[in-house]
Symmetry: C2
Subunit: 338 residues, 2 copies
C-alpha cells in the first residue's frame, strides 16, 4: 500500500482507516482515509505495512523527514504493547509539551484514559528547569539509540521529626564549620543537628555545618560570639550565592518536619529523613535533594546519573528549584519501565 505526503501529514487512501486505525490505532481518520504524522508513517514503512510514501522507502523517508528520534521511541512503545498518538494540536486534548500521548496497555485512541504524556529528548539537548517541570514523562534517546524513560513528579516532602530547639547555646565559628564545645544533649540526639566530634555514640563537642549553624542561629538556638550575620557571611565567603539558596532549601525542609543532612557521599546537597525520633535509631533516608536555580539547564546525562544513583541506594532524587524571591519548586525524577 502506498501513501502520499500532504503538507505535514501523510495520507493513506481508503481503506486506510479500516486497516490502520480501527484495529491498530494509527493516525486520525478522515472518512475512510487516514492521516498520519511522519513517525507513524515511518513505523508502518518499518513494519512493511506501507510500501512507500511518495515513492520513498524507510531509509529515504527518515532522511527526508528528520523524525528518527521520535520514531525510535514510537517503535519501542509499540513493541511494548502500547498504542500511542502524536500529541498534535487538534488530534489529542491538551498536547502541552508532550510529543506523544500513550494509552494504558490494552486501550487506544478510542478510549479516554491516558497513561503517559511523553516527551522525546535527545541525550545532547538541554532541558530548562521550567520545561522539565512541565513534563510528565521523558523518553531520552542516547547517542547509541538506547532509551531511558523518566517520570517527573512534584513531591510534597513532609515529615514528623522533632523540632524543639534550645536557646542561646554557645557555639564557635571555626573555619568553614561551627563547633559547640558543650552542646545541649538533645540537639544531636533528638533533633539530629551536627555531628559529634568523637563519633556517633559519644556525647561531647558537636560540629555543625555552616548551613545547620545559620538555621540554628536564626532560630535563636545557638549563639556565636561574632553574631548570626557572621555565620551567613562565612557561608557566602566559602560558597558564594549558593549558600543562601541551599540555606533556603534546608530551612524549608526543616519547617516541613524533614531532617536534611549532607548528601555529599551521594553527590547531592542533602539526604533527608522524614521522621527522626533519635539519632541513635535512624531510619532510612528517603530522598536526595539537589539544589539548583530555576534558570538551570539540565543536561539529560546528569539527570540520568542522579536518577541511577538514587535508585541504587533506594532513594528518590529531588531537585529543589530556587529563585531570588525564595520560592522553591520540588521536582522528582525517577526511572520508569513502561
Amino acid at each position: 500500500m502506498d501513501a502520499t505526503r500532504d503538507g505535514d501529514v501523510v495520507r493513506v487512501p481508503p481503506p486506510g482507516r479500516e486497516r490502520f486505525y480501527d484495529s491498530q490505532g494509527y493516525g486520525r481518520p478522515d472518512g475512510d482515509a487516514l492521516d498520519l504524522v511522519s513517525v507513524e508513517a515511518a513505523h508502518l514503512l518499518f513494519r512493511g505495512d506501507l510500501d512507500s510514501v511518495d515513492g520513498m522507502d524507510l531509509p529515504a523517508f527518515l532522511a527526508a523527514t528528520d523524525c528518527t528520534l521520535p520514531f525510535l521511541v514510537y517503535k519501542d512503545l509499540r513493541n511494548r504493547g502500547f498504542y500511542l498518538s502524536p500529541a498534535r494540536e487538534g488530534w489529542v486534548d491538551d498536547p502541552g509539551t508532550a510529543d506523544f500521548v500513550v494509552y494504558p496497555r490494552g486501550e487506544g485512541p478510542w478510549d479516554d484514559a491516558v497513561e503517559y504524556r511523553l516527551r522525546v529528548v535527545g541525550e545532547r539537548e538541554t532541558l530548562s528547569a521550567s520545561s522539565l517541570s512541565e513534563s510528565d514523562t521523558l523518553a531520552v534517546v542516547d547517542e547509541e539509540s538506547e532509551l531511558t524513560y523518566l517520570s517527573v513528579d512534584h513531591p510534597d516532602l513532609r515529615g514528623e521529626s522533632a523540632s524543639d530547639l534550645p536557646a542561646d547555646a554557645p557555639a564557635a565559628l571555626l573555619a568553614d564549620r561551627v563547633v559547640l564545645w558543650d552542646p545541649p544533649g538533645d540537639l544531636y540526639r533528638r533533633t539530629f543537628y551536627g555531628q559529634p566530634l568523637d563519633g556517633r555514640q559519644a556525647a561531647g563537642p558537636l560540629q555543625c555545618s555552616l548551613i545547620e549553624a545559620a538555621y540554628l542561629a536564626e532560630h535563636g538556638a545557638i549563639r556565636v560570639d561574632e553574631g548570626r550575620e557572621a555565620v551567613l557571611d562565612r557561608g557566602r565567603d566559602v560558597e558564594g550565592e549558593r549558600f543562601d539558596r541551599r540555606l533556603a532549601v534546608y530551612s524549608a525542609l526543616r519547617e516541613r518536619g524533614v531532617v536534611p543532612k549532607t548528601g555529599f557521599k551521594f553527590g547531592a546537597d542533602f539526604r533527608t529523613y522524614a521522621t527522626v525520633e533519635s539519632a541513635d535509631d535512624l531510619g532510612h533516608s528517603e530522598h536526595l535533594v539537589r539544589v539548583v536555580s530555576r534558570d538551570h539547564a539540565f543536561n539529560p546525562r546528569d539527570v540520568a546519573l542522579d536518577v541511577r544513583l538514587a535508585h541504587g541506594v533506594r532513594k528518590r532524587i529531588v531537585f529543589a528549584l530556587t529563585d531570588p524571591e525564595g520560592t522553591i519548586d520540588w521536582l522528582s525524577v525517577e526511572r520508569l519501565t513502561p
Copy 2:
C-alpha cells in the same frame, strides 16, 4: 603537661619524646624533647595528654591555628588504629602533595613501610586534574565533617576483544546518528559496534553513534556517501570540541582491545568491556569512563557521585584526561576504607 609554640612547631619539653613518640608515634624527637605540628598538638589536647599549648585549650588552639580539617582526619585515623606523621619536608621522605604519611596498622614512624600518602581536602575545594593525578589517597572532609577516603590510581585498561572489521560497508548519516541498513552480520555480533534497530537479538539495520561511525569510517570499515569528514563535522556540530576528545578516548580504548559503549545510563561517557566474544553473550562491563580535559577542575562532590555510582554497579570510574596533543592520562578513583 604543657607545651609551647616555637615558630610553626609545638615544642614539648622532656620527657616529651618518651611519652609521645617512643610508644605513640607523635612528632619528631629532638633529644628528649619533642617537636609536634599543630594537628598533633591538637590531638594531644583533645585526648587530654597535653593540658595546654601557650596556655590555650583545644578550642582556643584550633581557633588560633586553623588546622580543623587535618585534625578531623588525623583523629579519625588514630581512632582506626593507625600511626601517621605529618608530611613535612625533613620529617618524612618525599612528602610530595601529601599532608600525612600513614603507616601500615601496627607500624609507625620507626618502620620503613608507608600505607597511604594522604592528602586532606575540604568538600568545597576544587582539585585540578594534575593535582588529582599526583595524589595517592584523598581524605575529603564534607561540610558536616564526615570523611570520605578515596584512592587514586593509574589503571592500564587493556582487553582482548575481537577487532576485525569489514571494508566499505554502506552507511547513512541520519541526524546525530548513522544507520547501516544492511550491515555485515559480525559488526554488531562479534565486534559489538552499534545497536540493532529492532532489538538486541535481531539481524537487520544497525544504528551507530557518531563516535562509533567516525571510528569505523576512519578505519575504512564503513562508507558514508558524504564522506568521512561529514561524520566528524556532524559530531562537532552537535557536541563541539568534546566530540574530538571523546573520539580520541574511544579510539584509544578500541586500540587497547577494550569495547566502549555508551555510559549514558550511568551518567558517564562510556562503559567498557575488556573482552567481548559475542554481543549475544556479554560479560559484565568493568569500567565507567568519563572524558575530561586535562585542565578540568574536579569538584570533590562530583567525584564522590561518580565513585558511589560506579561502586553501586560494581564498576570502577576512570577519568580519561585529554589534551590538545591527543595524549590521554587514565585516572581511577575508588572509595577506600582505611
